[in-house]
């Protein structure tokens, strides 16, 4: 199958990446036993383990994983903010968060050792995608609760390369930094890479004024087609990586020099691919929902965390020498989460914003488009008698307030469009909430 040739020199960061499968399995088992012991006092697991009669001693093979309970985003929310913390608070050195399905984020925590592990996991995919200590990398993710910025930042430093923590924002300024600082590599979302290419064209920046060689892109779904565009327009190699804050952040998996899929770091995570309805495993190569068990994370370990991300796993050996399973690009979600410019957005968050205005949410429709490189969101809101006013200033204030509430809850700027009642599509009595017109949505 893997007839491709490497696009960069094939390198490893840590020897664990090529452990023989049997050794890897043994390592996973001992770490799984340890994990079950470590989470036994976390209230959620304590209760589930008691119910299902699970003890660390009862874990005798990797197959026993299937007796363990699943963990969902709803479980995390029920134990908001830190009910899943498995170490004393004083051992935590960092918090991150991701958007929840409502106004509150989901928090995760890291010990000092967790940060070292995380940095190494990011270093693994950065190195396999060409990063060397002599390089300068411009990070154009937001630095904040979002794990993308800090995760990659520490990974780059771990490799010994230089970070330029530019953050997202003014594209012209970012291009100036690339030129002046002789930047070798970019870290951003795929759609922001497309945007950079567009602005380079608009600014008529000659390509040889840039020293870019490669980019590590992530935080949103993209397609092979987008990769080809980015590589051609920027004259670079673009690598994919995957992660989610609940499991660790970026570094859960990443591409190697052969780019046949993303290698999952199985010495730190056990991955399952399940049918989202039956929760039974699907066959190798079949589509299913990814489920992760964090083997080594100390502060915020999770057992069988349901990601809602749809992907495929393949255990076919890879010529790069890594023995780990590979996952395909994420092709969809089993829930209604949207990724807007790299930010996770749930329709229920928009609903929450609308609830804050008037107590009961009116009918609404979230329309997502990608007119150029970047996602745009319009929230259509049906006008109701109680919200309506004969004064233009009141209606404009209503629209602006909805916009502010949405921004406050989701962090994204949405255009708000007030529409007449009964004009938004309802299918079989149930309101349609999302109209995703982006090309990637169907892949």
């Amino acid at each position: 199958m893997n007839r491709r040739s490497p696009v960069v020199e094939n390198r490893l960061w840590q020897s664990e990446e090529t452990l023989p499968r049997s050794d890897l399995r043994a390592l996973q088992l001992s770490r799984l036993k340890d994990l079950v012991a470590r989470v036994s006092h976390v209230p959620f697991y304590k209760e589930r383990f008691a119910r299902d009669r699970i003890t660390p001693d009862g874990i005798r093979s990797i197959d026993d994983l299937r007796r363990l309970p699943f963990t969902t985003k709803a479980d995390l929310r029920e134990h908001y903010p830190l009910g899943f913390l498995a170490v004393p608070r004083e051992q935590v050195v960092r918090f991150h968060g991701s958007s929840g399905t409502t106004g509150k984020p989901t928090f995760v925590a890291y010990t000092r050792d967790d940060l070292v592990t995380w940095s190494d996991l990011c270093a693994r995919f950065l190195v396999s995608g060409g990063l060397r200590p002599e390089h300068t990398v411009q990070v154009m993710f937001g630095y904040g609760l979002f794990t993308g910025g800090f995760g990659l930042h520490y990974g780059i430093e771990r490799v010994g390369a230089a970070v330029l923590p530019a953050g997202s924002g003014n594209t012209e300024r970012n291009i100036l930094l690339m030129q002046d600082m002789k930047v070798d590599a970019l870290v951003c979302t795929p759609s922001y890479a497309v945007r950079i290419a567009e602005v380079l064209r608009e600014m008529k920046v000659p390509r040889d004024s840039l020293t870019l060689k490669f980019a590590h892109l992530g935080a949103e779904p993209w397609t092979e087609d987008m990769r080809q565009h980015i590589e051609r327009d920027l004259g670079i190699l673009a690598f994919d990586n995957y992660g989610l804050s609940e499991v660790m952040g970026p570094g859960v998996s990443g591409e190697c020099a052969y780019r046949t899929g993303m290698h999952i770091q199985e010495d730190h995570f056990i991955v399952e691919c399940v049918n989202p309805d039956t929760l039974e495993p699907v066959a190798d190569g079949e589509k299913g929902e990814l489920v992760f068990t964090t083997l080594t994370k100390q502060a915020f370990p999770l057992i069988r965390y349901r990601t809602r991300d749809i992907s495929r796993l393949t255990h076919e050996p890879c010529p790069c020498g890594r023995t780990t399973v590979q996952m395909s690009r994420v092709t969809g979600r089993t829930d209604d989460m949207l990724i807007i410019r790299g930010v996770n957005v749930f329709p229920s968050q928009i609903e929450e914003a609308l609830l804050r205005i008037e107590g009961t949410a009116p009918q609404y429709l979230i329309e997502v488009t990608r007119p150029g490189a970047l996602d745009e969101v319009t929230v259509h809101v049906e006008m109701r008698e109680k919200d309506f006013s004969d004064k233009m200033s009141s209606l404009q204030a209503l629209r602006d307030r909805i916009q502010r509430e949405i921004q406050g809850i989701t962090g994204i700027h949405a255009r708000v469009n007030l529409v007449q009642p009964q004009t938004l599509e309802r299918s079989a009595g149930k309101a349609k909430r999302v109209l995703d017109r982006r090309a990637t949505a169907s892949h």
């Binding site: 006008m383 004064k391 209606l395 469009n417 007030l418 007449q420 009642p421």
Partner: protein, 150 residues
């Protein structure tokens, strides 16, 4: 001495204004006057109609959002300075106008000004104290050209 105004939410899309007018026309309801305030995406249509209750019912049945607003109608001579005199009175009393629109009765050479105030009762007192003719339902709808009074 206040008049009921129908206010409708209107998307800026072809056919929406026409649908409202057709609904009223089919029911034989006459529009005395109207004003339209609009932005790029939406507008507010304000209508003065004698049988406002029936009009509201019909338009709501068609799915429109309709509000009833109390407005004040005053009558002035249709001559230069007619509006200015009224505005001066309001300005002196520091009465804020939310919005206004006007129309004329050609027969009587009189102009009617429709005002939306935050406190219409206070505004009516201010206007009447200065001798400005504030119209009630009877005067407004009966003086319409082509109506009963000939």
């Amino acid at each position: 001495m206040k008049i009921k105004q129908l206010s409708l939410f209107l998307e800026n899309k072809p056919g929406h204004l026409s649908a409202i007018c057709q609904t009223l026309a089919r029911a034989g309801i006459n529009i005395v006057t109207l004003s339209l305030a609009d932005t790029q995406q939406f507008g507010i249509l304000r209508l003065i109609i004698q049988d406002w209750e029936r009009a509201k019912e019909l338009l709501e049945a068609k799915g429109f959002v309709v509000n009833i607003t109390e407005v004040v109608a005053t009558e002035v001579d249709d001559r230069p300075g007619g509006l200015s005199d009224v505005l001066k009175v309001l300005e002196q009393a520091r009465t804020n106008i939310e919005y206004m629109y006007a129309f004329t009765f050609r027969r009587n050479n009189r102009a009617v000004l429709i005002f939306r105030f935050d406190d219409p009762d206070a505004a009516v007192n201010v206007l009447q104290a200065k001798g400005i003719n504030v119209l009630g339902d009877v005067e407004l709808f009966e003086e319409k050209p082509g109506a009963k009074k000939r």
